[in-house]
């Protein structure tokens, strides 16, 4: 009796495992999947939480780029697989594995949050799946832990702030105070600012910081007033950046000590910050008002398709699509031909709405950084702050 019930249970469980395996495609002949089948594109992006809008903008950008090519990659039809990463680092590895192991994607596109990116990065390095980073600027992904199968299409955290220094010194602002949150992205942004500003001949008279995500700026603003610098440079992102600009103005510093920042300070925050943001100067690899036919065509197509205006995140998604198209076309859709695929993605330029950019040896964009100023609730591009700026990629050894 005991024996028969055990064996029945075994049969049941094995049967269930078999059905499970078949449904995920594990038992299908490998050949059928590899060539003739659809190319499997995995999107691991935030679709809920603080960064939800960024995830949507990136996916829209990817789809727009691919649809402009007839909706195929290297002649193959595409199937999309989506996972909401919730900007939750503790679930990152599990979520990335859902796409890589369960859905067997040929390429994984993701993500926004740097902490989550590190989880994806581990899975990408272990599995060897092609991974495209459409936003997260965490240094290590294209520095000490760079990988042949990982490409970034956005920026490294120090890139936008590296261009600030020269622009500030050109305006005669040679003594500056730096302020940011004390966390990884803030520290990496500071690295860029410091290198750029010192090289341009500026002096950083004080580095101010507060714990992430504390928004009690008042004490530090008092300190800034006492230090009387020529200018203030900062890195803040998200809702806190609007509050920082409002507090800066309320403390009476606006109009007396010019405020500079990485472009994320003002991106998407101009309505919330209102008049407090007017005149703030920032550097970023994109600006809505770039006056090129390429950018205008992109903005028109995006607005028509999705009934909303594109932002820097949409551009990054779009460029991710362009890069994937370039690679897939070169190998005629056979993403398993890795040497040729990577070669194609590493060489030549991407004709982006932000301007043409190339891929550095460590797989991070070499791109122009624009100087922008807030005027009438708009980030107006007033020039190029740095031409073809590259991340140092220090410590990167491609195996």
């Amino acid at each position: 009796m005991t024996d028969s019930s055990t064996s029945r249970r075994q049969v049941l469980s094995q049967g269930a495992a078999l059905i499970g395996a078949a449904s995920t495609g594990m038992l299908l002949p490998q050949v059928a999947q590899a060539q003739a089948g659809k190319l499997r594109v995995g999107l691991m992006l935030p679709y809920t939480g603080t960064f939800a809008q960024l995830g949507v903008a990136i996916e829209n950008g990817v789809r727009l780029a691919i649809n402009e090519q007839g909706g195929k990659l290297g002649g193959r039809e595409i199937e999309y697989f989506k996972v909401d990463d919730e900007s939750e680092p503790s679930k990152a590895i599990e979520n990335a594995n859902k796409l890589v192991q369960r859905d067997k994607v040929d390429v994984l596109i993701g993500t926004v949050h740097s902490g989550v990116q590190m989880g994806i990065h581990k899975v990408a390095r272990d599995s060897g799946v092609l991974c495209l980073i459409p936003n997260a600027g965490v240094h290590i992904a294209t520095r000490a832990q760079c990988a042949p199968n990982v490409f970034r299409t956005s920026f490294s955290n120090s890139q936008p702030t590296r261009a600030l220094g020269a622009a500030m010194v050109a305006k005669g602002h040679k003594r500056a105070v730096w302020i940011t949150w004390k966390y990884a992205a803030g520290d990496e942004a500071f690295e860029g600012f410091k290198e750029g500003y010192l090289a341009a001949g500026g002096t950083i008279i004080k580095e101010l910081g507060l714990p992430f995500p504390n928004v009690e700026f008042q004490a530090l603003l008092t300190e800034i007033a006492a230090l009387k610098p020529d200018a203030v440079a900062c890195f803040f992102a998200g809702g806190a950046s609007a509050k920082f600009m409002i507090d800066y103005a309320a403390a009476g510093l606006k109009g007396k000590i010019p405020l500079y920042g990485s472009g994320f300070l003002t991106e998407g925050m101009l309505d919330a910050a209102g008049p407090a943001a007017e005149g703030v100067m920032t550097t970023l690899h994109y600006g809505d008002s770039i006056e090129t036919p390429r950018n205008k065509a992109f903005r028109l197509a995006y607005a028509k398709t999705f009934k909303m205006q594109p932002d820097v995140y949409a551009v990054q998604g779009y460029d991710t699509g362009l890069l994937l198209i370039k690679g897939a076309n070169a190998v005629k859709g056979d993403l398993n031909n890795k040497p040729a695929l990577y070669k194609a993605m590493e060489t030549g330029a991407i004709d982006s709405p932000r301007g043409k950019w190339t891929m550095s040896k460590s797989h991070n964009p070499v791109q122009d950084i624009y100087l922008r100023v807030v005027e009438n609730k708009e980030n107006k591009v007033i020039g190029v702050a740095a031409k073809a700026l590259a991340d140092s990629g220090v410590g990167c050894k491609m195996s």
């Binding site: 939480g49 101010l208 009690e216 008042q218 004490a219 008092t222 007033a225």
Partner: protein, 287 residues
């Protein structure tokens, strides 16, 4: 640091300390009198901030929003006490922690359903939007002075209520000896409901007046909750006077820490707490 800057930083720390006091006072009262560890206290702060956001847009004035919002929060506190908390006064602290921890998740989810996950700004009222010039390049926002004023008024009111009124006497009696107070004819159930609603009201008012300067965002409650517990522990659990002194102390350490020792600023407040606990394990003013 010159004298003017020092004085302004002192003002900053007092103003931050007073706001912390508003939050911690409710927490310490609820713990001292009912013996309930309320982890959901930060959620009432968040509720206040979101109420200020919605009501000030709806009613067109922050002052009106403050009045209506306080009433709503107090009613919410009474309902919550009647439905849940009164059943937990005699239960184990672990049960209370589980209940209130669960409430945090429920409140966050409700917040997400009602208000979404975006960051919102609350405009400073027209009348208080100005700044007073203090030094050559620094002005002090009038609204921050207004915040400090409201907090001072409420602290004074709380002091008068507890030490000078009949209700306050009953509250103190209940805290001192619960059974004896009841035997002497004090309606202790009513006292509990009043104290709980008062605590919720104070936290919500703190959230409402802080909303224009802090902006309104998901999870804003859990951040202040930790600071609140630090204040309550330093001040001595159950002591309102201790909470006031401790809140001002935390404000001082936090403000000057950020300026003078930025690299360890995040840690200093907790080091203060550890030092006080070593010196006086039951806090500065144990009831």
């Amino acid at each position: 640091m010159d004298l003017a800057t020092f004085l302004i930083q002192l003002l900053n720390s007092v103003q931050y300390g007073l706001l912390l006091f508003m939050l911690a006072a409710g927490l310490t009262l609820i713990f001292g009198i009912m013996g309930v560890v309320n982890l959901a206290h930060g959620s009432f702060y968040m509720l206040g901030a979101y109420l200020a956001y919605s009501l000030s847009a709806l009613l067109g004035s922050l002052t009106l929003a403050l009045i209506v919002g306080t009433l709503l929060a107090v009613m919410f506190g009474l309902a919550l006490e009647w439905l849940l908390f009164r059943h937990f006064y005699h239960r184990d602290h672990l049960d209370q922690v589980l209940l209130t921890f669960g409430l945090i998740s429920i409140f966050e989810e409700l917040r997400s359903m009602v208000w979404g996950d975006d960051v919102h700004g609350v405009p400073v009222p027209e009348l208080l939007a100005a700044s007073i010039p203090l030094t050559a390049n620094l002005s002090y926002p009038v609204y921050r002075l207004f915040m400090a004023g409201i907090c001072l008024l409420l602290a004074l009111g709380l002091y008068l209520l507890i030490s000078k009124t009949r209700l306050g006497m009953k509250i103190r009696a209940g805290a001192f000896n619960h059974d004896m107070a009841e035997a002497l004819g004090v309606n202790i159930k009513l006292i509990h409901a009043v104290v709980f609603a008062l605590g919720v009201g104070l936290a919500a008012v703190a959230g409402m007046i802080a909303a224009p300067t802090s902006s309104v965002y998901p999870n804003m409650g859990s951040q202040v909750l930790i600071m609140c517990f630090v204040v309550v522990v330093i001040g001595g659990i159950g002591s309102v006077r201790g909470a006031l002194i401790a809140a001002l102390l935390v404000g001082l350490v936090d403000t000057f820490g950020k300026v003078l020792l930025p690299s360890v600023a995040g840690m200093l407040v907790y080091m203060l707490m550890a030092a006080v606990l070593l010196w006086k394990p039951e806090g500065l003013f144990k009831q």
